[in-house]
């Protein structure tokens, strides 16, 4: 291995790639523009939709309740519900979205409130349908309040205070620092974004520098130079890694800036929805550091695949299943309940996904950091060795 040769190859490959518009688009334009636009766009649409639904009034059918005028009168005070006349096909009407929910008041409900046995209010809704669930929630809230009112009345009649039915209180205090709370939310999403952008950022350059070279006939030119194959492989790998880390870094940066903007300009909105968005900058640095061996792993893996393929087209065909194989372990950070343990700390991709999640929530388990770091370096080393070995195999380079 000669450092100078490696440097010569690296500088040329990087310059060559940066002159390719496709590299610039996938490395700089997409992470910087598309990511914030997309998140802001989807956010705005979702928010708009929620507001629209909140403004809407829902048709609700009341079944029975003719002998319970008090309850009915209270119910009709609800502003965002519109009550329609009872009909026997109410279930069908809910399914057809003609009405959003139906509420059945048993006979003698008002009377039973005074001293009778507990009666049952039945609510019919269409589960999974947002508008139906919103209407149902309104109804449930109403009856819950109605129940509290009734209990208060009963207690007053017996000269008892509310302490009678609340013999003790339960209080939960949050000891987690603010970043931890937000970390749980961001921490599940960011590792996934980081891993995926790190991988996708490496795909185009890895294919271009291997199968692309074969396709364009420059591979043979390159191999006729006295540079050792190992230096060629390492130079190319370093180039792919640079592009991959840049793509990831810029995505991370643009996510950070988007969050900052949301926090500054959408503070009220976020507080209302209970979205804490604090992120420790040191956590970003830590995540970046742990991603360096990961990027080397991805780069070497993709280079090997690209080298094996006869053409860019063939290489891209292999990339599809690889992407799917990588997306699932990367997504583990999004699944609740998965935490690092000795086994998960050595599973590639899964370990980094979970470790980043911990770092973003302000937890630093140094023993896990060491295990994840060392195992990632080992995987990266193995993948790199495989790529170098493939580069020396003429049956791969000149695969017919």
């Amino acid at each position: 291995m000669k450092l100078r040769d490696l440097g010569v190859v690296y500088r040329k490959e990087l310059r060559d790639l940066l002159r390719d518009r496709r590299t610039i688009i996938s490395m700089i334009v997409v992470p910087l523009l598309l990511m914030p636009l997309l998140s802001a766009g989807v956010g705005a649409v979702a928010l708009h939709q929620v507001k629209e639904v909140m403004k809407e009034t829902f048709s609700v059918m009341v079944l029975g309740g003719d002998d319970s005028p008090t309850t009915l009168a209270e119910l009709r005070k609800l502003e965002n519900l519109e009550f329609v006349a009872a009909a026997p096909d109410f279930k069908q009407q809910i399914a057809d979205k003609k009405i959003r929910a139906a509420v059945e008041i048993p006979p003698g409900f008002d009377a039973a409130l005074q001293n009778g046995p507990p009666a049952t209010i039945k609510i019919y809704d269409y589960e999974g349908e947002f508008k139906s669930e919103t209407a149902t929630r309104t109804l449930r809230d109403f009856f819950s309040d109605w129940q509290d009112t009734t209990v208060a009345q009963r207690l007053a009649q017996r000269n008892l205070t509310s302490d009678f039915i609340h013999p003790f209180n339960v209080e939960t205090t949050n000891v987690a620092p603010p970043e931890k709370v937000s970390g749980n939310l961001l921490g599940s999403l960011l590792p996934y974004i980081i891993l995926i952008t790190c991988l996708t950022g490496a795909i185009y350059p890895a294919v271009d520098l291997t199968a692309g070279e074969k396709e364009r006939g420059t591979m043979e030119t390159l191999l006729s130079s006295p540079v050792k194959r190992i230096d060629l492989a390492l130079g190319k790998c370093l180039t792919v890694m640079t592009v991959s880390l840049t793509t990831m870094g810029l995505s991370l940066l643009s996510c950070g800036v988007s969050l900052l903007l949301v926090r500054t300009y959408g503070a009220n909105m976020m507080r209302n929805n209970g979205l804490p968005l604090d992120l420790n900058p040191m956590a970003l640095v830590g995540a970046f550091a742990i991603m360096v061996p990961m990027s080397l792993f991805f780069s070497s893996l993709l280079l090997s695949i690209g080298l094996f393929a006869r053409s860019s087209k063939e290489a891209n065909t292999y990339m599809q299943p690889l992407m799917i194989m990588m997306i699932f372990p990367a997504m583990i950070s999004l699944l609740p309940g998965f935490e690092l343990n000795e086994v998960r700390a050595v599973i590639p991709v899964v370990n980094v996904s979970l470790l980043c999640k911990e770092i973003f929530s302000g937890t630093y388990h140094w023993n896990y950091i060491a295990i994840v770091g060392i195992s990632s370096c080992l995987y990266a080393g193995a993948a790199l060795a495989a790529a170098v070995a493939l580069f020396k195999r003429e049956s791969v380079i000149f695969r017919a």
Binding site: D5, V8, K12, R15, T218, E220, T221, S224, P226, E394
Partner: protein, 245 residues
Amino acid sequence: MVEVQSLSKAFRDKKRGLIRAVDGVSFRCAPGQIYGLLGVNGAGKTTTLRMLATILQPTSGTAKVAGHDIVAAPELVRANVGFLSTATALYDRLTARELVEYFGRLNGMPDSRVRERVDSIFALLDMNEFRDRRCGKLSTGMKQKVSIARALVHDPVVMIFDEPTLGLDVLTARTIVGFIRDCRTRGKTVIFSSHVMSEVEKLCDVIAIIHGGRILAEGTLAQLRERTGLMDLEEVFVKIVEGQP
């Protein structure tokens, strides 16, 4: 100097089994000499030359190129060989100058020497007009000149040309042929392959007729004519190839 000793290359093919692409080829080529491999497509020309350029490794046998063994010291061999074939394309996104400089550096030349050498080659081949244009935007003739400059940048003592005129127009092909002659004049050892009879006839000091991975006949044009009793090289070629069982 190039000395080839029973060089062989076998590939394993799923359908056809073991293929002996090159089967015990031996020859010598001295400095100031052009050695021509004449053969049809698939005769083993490209595989032989790729082995001499150490892009492929021989299955058995070896060769000494400029005093270095192709199996034991492939990097030293490559440092002394200029290899040019139809398959050695250029990087479209680099300029002519950047490309030649890149290969100079890959050959371990210091930057100052690279610049000096590039200046002189560009002047020699009359390339200064398009030196800062990207290779992808050059005409076929210009590209061929860049390829020549690329193969020459480290001033190799051995030049290997694998069908260098394939697919080129008459004028460009003439430039190449002239350049190959020039290499001989300057005392380089030149190995050349082609399936174009007229080129081989004009250029080569020694002609080897290669078929099925084996050299069937070798000699000067006059010797080959004498052996077959025919004048036209094409007739000579056909007679020798068809004389084989």
